[in-house]
């Protein structure tokens, strides 16, 4: 069951035949996406290795598009009959039309943005178990109040081939690695949790940034800190977001409405606002898939478009939406390389990659000192946004009061609630201490690894929903 090079599995003539069959009723283009993914996941719970799982996923999806309409079919089987059957099924979405052509397939090389010298699949499973043990020891060693530690290790290698009727032939490997932990701390019947889970599109280089020990300690520190928490205040107030957290908010509240499918369906608050000031002038934001080994990075997106750095906001002025191929063709612009899919089992849709607010001129400590009262958020638990109205809500898993320019008592149960444009317009200070946060974003039932980044920043007024005074 070893991983095989996809090009060896699928000869060029067969790929051309499938692309041709998919265009039997025409359409603007056809595309074949083939994938093989090997993965290892290990779960350590209560100090014991509970699960150690090896996976081999394999499949191919055929898409044929006409305007923004498409037909898509996939199969786990990669033999000629199955692929031609998928092509036939996908083409059934189109009305009867003249067959379309397939241009000579030309290999395109990537820059190797996710190159790794230490791929995870070269390490024995025993090493991976040892990293989890190191994490577990570190979390428990931090405090006697740590009562539970769950650690999850995962790595995968996705080999992809993308070929299109307009001549693209792209092969790209994506190595992924992630070490996640959830720690529970308890004191006198009070229970709090702490989470941390850095990730990279890389090999074990991930641990150069955060050792397994550091990951365990950070989550444990969060859980223990929150034991001292009091109910969060409620009301409108200033909120300072720690490095990375502004990126999470930017991703949810701003990024999703900037995805071109939301814009096309008139379900975006930013529709028609390119070139307009939609955020405070201290906000510069980008979506950048070219960051080396970034969790959301790649050479080519999942429709074979080269990745790029797309400026979204410059001095608060909206610059661009995030495009896939279908929506870009419709708007007569170039794709921004944001067509992504979870796997062969789903067609690509516009998605973010690494979405970042860039460094500003201020210093983080000066921002805190200049804040009379409010909340300092160091970890967001996740959020939801309605792209049409821009309404969003975020849970804060670690936050503190700011009183008289100082970070004081930890608070629990805080929610940030607001609307995208108003909140981004209320950003009044951006520091120079950029950092990232890695997560998994869900949309239309598809999961995508995404990076979010920002320096420390302050929102002068936002609604905090809490249960305290």
């Amino acid at each position: 069951m070893p991983a095989v090079s996809i090009a060896i599995m699928l000869p060029r003539e067969l790929v051309e035949e499938v692309l041709q069959a998919a265009r039997r009723r025409g359409g603007s283009f056809s595309e074949l996406f083939v994938e093989e993914r090997t993965s290892t996941s290990i779960r350590l719970d209560d100090g014991k290795v509970e699960e150690l799982t090896s996976g081999l996923d394999r499949g191919a999806g055929v898409r044929v598009a006409l305007g923004t309409s498409y037909g898509y079919a996939y199969s786990n089987r990669l033999d000629r009959d199955s692929l031609l059957q998928a092509a036939e099924a996908a083409s059934a979405a189109l009305q009867e039309g003249e067959p379309g052509a397939v241009v000579d397939l030309t290999v395109r090389e990537g820059r190797g943005v996710n190159r790794t010298d230490r791929p995870a699949d070269r390490f024995p499973a025993a090493d991976k178990v040892a990293w989890l043990r190191e994490l577990d020891d570190a979390a428990r060693g931090l405090s006697p109040e740590v009562v539970q530690v769950v650690g999850m290790y995962g790595d995968s290698l996705q080999k992809r081939l993308i070929a299109t009727s307009d001549g693209r032939w792209i092969e790209e490997d994506r190595p992924r690695i992630r070490l996640v932990t959830q720690v529970v701390a308890a004191r006198d019947g009070t229970i709090q949790t702490g989470f941390f889970g850095p990730a990279a599109c890389a090999g074990v280089e991930l641990f150069d940034r955060f050792s397994a020990k550091a990951i365990g300690e950070k989550a444990a520190q969060r859980a223990v800190t929150m034991l001292d928490s009091v109910p969060a205040p409620a009301g409108e107030m200033a909120v300072v977001l720690a490095p990375g957290m502004g990126g999470v908010l930017f991703h949810e509240a701003v990024g999703h409405p900037l995805e071109a499918d939301a814009v096309d369906k008139e379900a975006s608050v930013y529709r028609g606002l390119v070139g307009t000031k939609c955020a405070s002038e201290v906000v510069d934001g980008v979506d950048d898939a070219t960051i080396p080994n970034g969790w959301g990075s790649y050479d080519f997106d999942d429709e074979g478009e080269p990745s790029q750095r797309t400026v979204l906001f410059e001095n608060g002025v909206l610059q661009s939406f995030l495009y896939d191929r279908l929506r870009a063709d419709k708007d007569g612009v170039g794709s921004t390389g944001n067509g992504r899919r979870e796997s062969y089992a789903a067609p690509p849709i516009p998605r973010m990659t690494n979405t970042n607010i860039l460094d500003g001129p201020e210093r983080a400590d000066a921002i805190i000192e200049g804040t009379d009262g409010g909340v300092f958020v160091t970890s967001l638990g996740g959020g939801q946004v309605n792209p049409a109205s821009g309404d969003f809500v975020f849970g804060c898993s670690e936050a503190f009061k700011i009183e008289g320019g100082k970070v004081t008592t930890p608070v629990r149960g805080a929610n940030l609630i607001g609307r995208a444009i108003q909140v981004m317009s209320a950003v009044d200070a951006v520091a120079d201490d950029f950092d990232t946060w890695e997560g998994v974003c869900g949309k239309d039932g598809q999961q995508a690894p995404v990076g979010s980044g920002s320096p420390t920043l302050r929102i002068s007024r936002i609604t905090v929903g809490g249960t305290g005074a």
Binding site: L56, D57, S69, Y74, A126, A388, S389, N415
Partner: protein, 444 residues
């Protein structure tokens, strides 16, 4: 294509002396049709299958899986799972269930639905959109209109002698409308699931998505107050998801459930009876057996507010000295965990209209957001964003948004003063409308 049951038997035969081997295989054929602006926006087909293998050796569990394996791949998966078991912790509760007779449920497979032509599915999706944009002058476009169905098959075999196999059909549709007035846009969501496409009430989905979007236009922030709250089925469902997590024996045994020490105690109001019932054919989660081959059962988790027990799979049952409730759940990519079958709040006798009358001056919550991030499954504390409508004169009035509700799950369950007679399933989770005597709504 090799038969699913045959593939499972290949795995079982590859087992070595002294080890227990189980194979779980599933295959499905799915179609999804989406309409937009009067055209087929997308048509997706899939044919997928996969097999996952558990090997238990010296009480150590190893797992491996592959998409569309042949017999040789299966033997390789067994070898990998065996290799993985060597690194796992020894745990005497790693056991495979003993075989038990299960009763086939032929109603789960509707031949008529499996045979529906693709053109009919696209016609339904187009009809769904057309209806949604013609009911209200403020709703002239949609974000999504989708009609989907699946024909699936599951097979399980183990060295303990479990041999189980069944097939099912499912169909579902959803609509997300956009209601526009001036600069304001609100979205309205609706969803229904049925055993087959022929039973799918797509017209009701269109109408409901229109109503839920249009009535939110002009929404404003309320003043903070303690008021009666009616959770509609959509909002109540979000909370049931969090409850389900706390009622898994796995969470209890690991000290991750707020209900761990409360068996036998009155946790909720008299009106709160919560059931998991995989044998209830009315629910979408019905199946003859769970994903370990254990016959489905009915478990009353709460009776009139009192907690009776938890949901078990084979592992948690062995650990807890009890029997599996038939709640081993999984896909082929992972070993079984504990999950729900048809998990629902038992319907009450009160009509929705009467609940609204009893909540005079209160608020109907139609959506809550951030439950998963905003609710602590261990402490039960939550603070979530909400949208809804003011209740006045027994009817729905002014739309409200940018508000939060904060409480704890036990407090909320105790405060239930009315349960509607309008039980509705969303996927395998079902709930009627629920009246909460009083809650703090923070409109800040």
């Amino acid at each position: 294509m090799p038969d699913l049951g045959d593939l499972c038997r290949v795995a079982v035969e590859a087992g070595e002396a002294g080890e227990a081997v189980e194979a779980y295989a599933e295959e499905s054929r799915r179609t999804e049709a989406k309409a937009l602006r009067g055209e087929v926006e997308g048509l997706e087909f899939s044919e997928s299958r996969g097999v996952g293998v558990r090997v238990i050796r010296e009480a150590r569990l190893g797992y491996a899986w592959a998409a569309d394996p042949d017999a040789d791949d299966i033997r390789e998966i067994v070898r990998r799972a065996r290799e993985n078991s060597a690194l796992a912790a020894s745990d005497e509760h790693n056991v495979l269930p003993e075989p038990a007779p299960w009763r086939p449920i032929p109603e789960l497979f509707r031949e008529a639905s499996a045979a529906v032509a693709t053109e009919e599915k696209t016609r339904l999706a187009l009809g769904l959109e057309a209806r949604a944009i013609s009911r209200d002058p403020r709703v002239t476009k949609i974000d999504e209109a989708q009609v989907s169905d699946a024909v699936s098959r599951v097979a399980i075999a183990s060295t303990n002698g479990v041999e189980a196999e069944y097939q099912r059909t499912d169909a579902w549709c959803l609509a997300v409308t956009l209601a526009v007035e001036g600069d304001e846009t609100q979205t309205g969501f609706s969803y229904r699931i049925a055993r087959g496409l022929d039973e799918l009430d797509w017209e009701a989905v269109a109408d409901e998505a229109v109503e839920r979007g249009a009535r939110m236009l002009g929404a404003a922030k309320p003043e903070t107050a303690r008021v009666p709250v009616v959770l509609d089925q959509f909002a109540a469902m979000s909370f049931l998801g969090v409850l389900a997590g706390g009622l898994s024996a796995d969470a209890v045994q690991k000290g991750r459930s707020l209900f761990a020490e409360l068996v036998g105690e009155r946790v909720g109001s008299e009106l709160f009876t919560l059931v998991d019932d995989g044998t209830n054919v009315e629910g979408p989660g019905a199946a003859p057996f769970d994903d370990e081959g254990v016959p489905s059962g009915r478990t009353e988790l709460f009776t009139k507010g009192a907690l009776n027990g938890f949901l078990h799979n084979a592992y948690t049952a062995h650990k807890g000295g009890t029997v599996s409730t038939g709640n081993g759940k999984r896909g082929y990519r992972s070993p079984p965990s504990v999950g729900t079958s048809n998990f629902y709040l038992d319907a009450g006798a009160t009509s929705r209209d009467e609940l609204l009358q009893r909540a005079e001056g209160g608020v109907l919550i139609q959506d809550v957001s951030g439950v998963h991030s905003g609710a602590n499954p261990i402490s039960g504390e939550f603070s979530v964003g909400a949208t809804g409508l003011r209740i006045s004169g027994g009817a729905l009035g002014e739309p409200l948004r940018e508000m939060t509700i904060a409480s704890t799950l036990p407090e909320m369950l105790k405060a239930i003063t009315g349960v509607g007679d309008d039980l509705r399933f969303f996927s395998s989770v079902g709930t009627p409308s629920v009246l909460i005597g009083e809650m703090t709504l923070a409109g800040v």
